[in-house]
Amino acid sequence: MDNVAQQLFNAGNLRANAAYAASKRNITIDPITRLEGHGKIDIYLDDKGDVERAYLQVPELRGFEVFCRGRPAEDMPQITSRICGVCPTAHHMASTKALDALYQIEPTSPGRKIRELVYHTFMLEDHALHVFILGGPDFIVGPEAPPAERNILGVIGKVGIEAGKKVIATRRRLRELIAYFGGKVVHPVLGLPGGVSKPLSAADLPKFRELAKDGVEFAQWTLDVFRTIVLKNPDYVKMITSDAYTHRTCYMGMVDEQNQVNFYDGRLRVVDCDGREVCEFTAAEYRDYIAEHVEPWSYMKFTYLKQRGWNGFVEGPETSIYSVAPLARLNAADGMATPLAQAAYEEFFKVLGGKPVHHTLANHWARVIEMIYAAERIEQLVNDPEITSPEVRRIPTAVPKVGIGVVEAPRGTLFHHYETDERGVIKMANMIVATGNNAGRIAMSVERAAKGMIKGGHVTEGLLNKVEMAFRAYDPCLGCATHTLPGHLPLNVGIYDRDHRLIRQLVQE
């Protein structure tokens, strides 16, 4: 973003904050909500008073590149993992992989396996948190349940106290595994160019094998909970498959040599709305395949498929908008690399009518399938004879220049791109985060919800709720920018007339 745009953005942000604060009669301060991060939706009307366009504004982190410039590249895995309290391990790993590329070095085989072990543990833990805590209120309690029940206590009420304890305890054990290697989860000190900092001691292996076994069981139990509560309820299924939450876009996800889903490494594969492969590329080639489009009415950047060109917010065969995250990964791949996850994958596409699935809300189900895959992969890794090898690092010797790393974060593809001088001092740093990759499709969902609720300048009651549901399905993580709890998004909707004058503002805490 250039300076002028940045200043405009900052000024707009300040105004939005001020308007939001001023509209609050009673302040409730909850520190865990932290800073007043809020979802800001802009809706533009045409001269008939109908919705012309609408989008969710994703606030941008300020000063990232300036902060990084002049620092040693080796600091980047720590710095980037500290930016976001939501997915530190994803940033840490993308950054570590960018350092491998920067120093042109491959990690040793045991070093790579330890990275994968930690990464899959993180994916399992984060997905579980989402299924039960963040998405749970919508799906386990139910989208149509009274608001007073749509919270974590409602989830516990529905799955039972024992199950609730199981979720909390499993999550804690998974986090202990991450901490074993990296120390604090938020400041992991695991990844180094060419490997990792710590091997796995054979003496500690039995407890991780136990955890892996329990992890597989936990993930399968989660699928059972999902089947019982969600899939057996015709109203839920009707809602998942309804037009309101369906968009025919492209999908991107990382795959291995067999085109199976891979979170840690591989090629990025994109399929179109009919499931045909559009392109496949490596992290280093990302700029040849992904471009950013800026609309004149916004300072948001929307990523799109470069080779197709920007075709606007359209669906179908012409679209150059792609989506990321669990559903996109399943759509972009040909299958899962582990048996239980593969069975769940087949069931998913069978029930939902074949590939690709275009229903945004199916992300919740896809997430559970990915939990099974992550757990099975952890089990494979802790039973791999190499996992306790002390050969966890190769020392880099090449002169650094450019490093691009990519991982599949829980919320989708995450790119880190660094350029340095010959001493490895950062000259340029850029990230494309998952929510950025999804911005185009999120805008389409918000616009559809808004169109259904605003006609001829008349705003129907319940607009806020509908638009919130439309973007919440993507689990947009604004944590990188606003440092607010994911999912808790006080809404601020601005409605503008044809001359782009603000005519109405709606606020929901």
Partner: protein, 164 residues
């Protein structure tokens, strides 16, 4: 969790992000409080940069909790210290289904049969810039640190004494 022995009863917990300018203020206060209280028995001082459910892991099994955090309400000047007692703590909220705050974390822990703090007090410092990457707080927020430290120390000592 790492626990002191004998079991401590009062937890002072600083929250924030140490590279987001003013957002670090809760961590800065906690560090000062630790320096002031040393290894006083009955009080443990910790910092965390994590969010959300982690709070549950941090506060379980303590009798009393003093939280220090950054906040931006836009209704007080930067550096203002909001003090929030248990009565003002938002409980389980109806309007935000995904919300997991202090009140909700306490309710969740209790419903799962975990031991949650009986007494909770929150010191939230109004901040100016929590969005720019940086490691130095703005002047008004930096000035609020010693004041907040005094109040946090006094609260922790009062509760530690009462628990004797």
């Amino acid at each position: 969790m790492n626990r002191l022995s004998p079991p401590t009863t009062v937890l002072v917990l600083g929250l924030g992000n140490d590279i987001l300018t003013d957002d670090a203020v809760g961590l800065l206060v906690a560090r000062e409080v630790r320096a002031r209280l040393g290894s006083k028995s009955g009080i443990e001082v910790r910092e965390t940069t994590e969010m959300g459910l982690t709070l549950l892991d941090e506060i379980v099994d303590y009798d009393c909790l003093v939280l220090v955090d950054a906040v931006q309400t836009g209704q007080a000047p930067p550096g203002h210290v909001h003090e929030i007692g248990p009565d003002e703590l938002p409980q389980v909220t109806a309007t935000s289904p995904h919300f997991l705050g202090v009140g909700e974390t306490l309710a969740l822990g209790t419903s799962l049969g975990l031991v949650m703090p009986r007494l909770v007090r929150i010191f939230a410092i109004e901040v100016e810039d929590p969005f720019t990457l940086g490691t130095s707080p703005t002047p008004a927020v930096a000035q609020a640190v010693p004041v907040t430290v005094e109040r946090v120390v006094a609260q922790a000592l009062e509760w530690a004494k009462a628990e004797d």
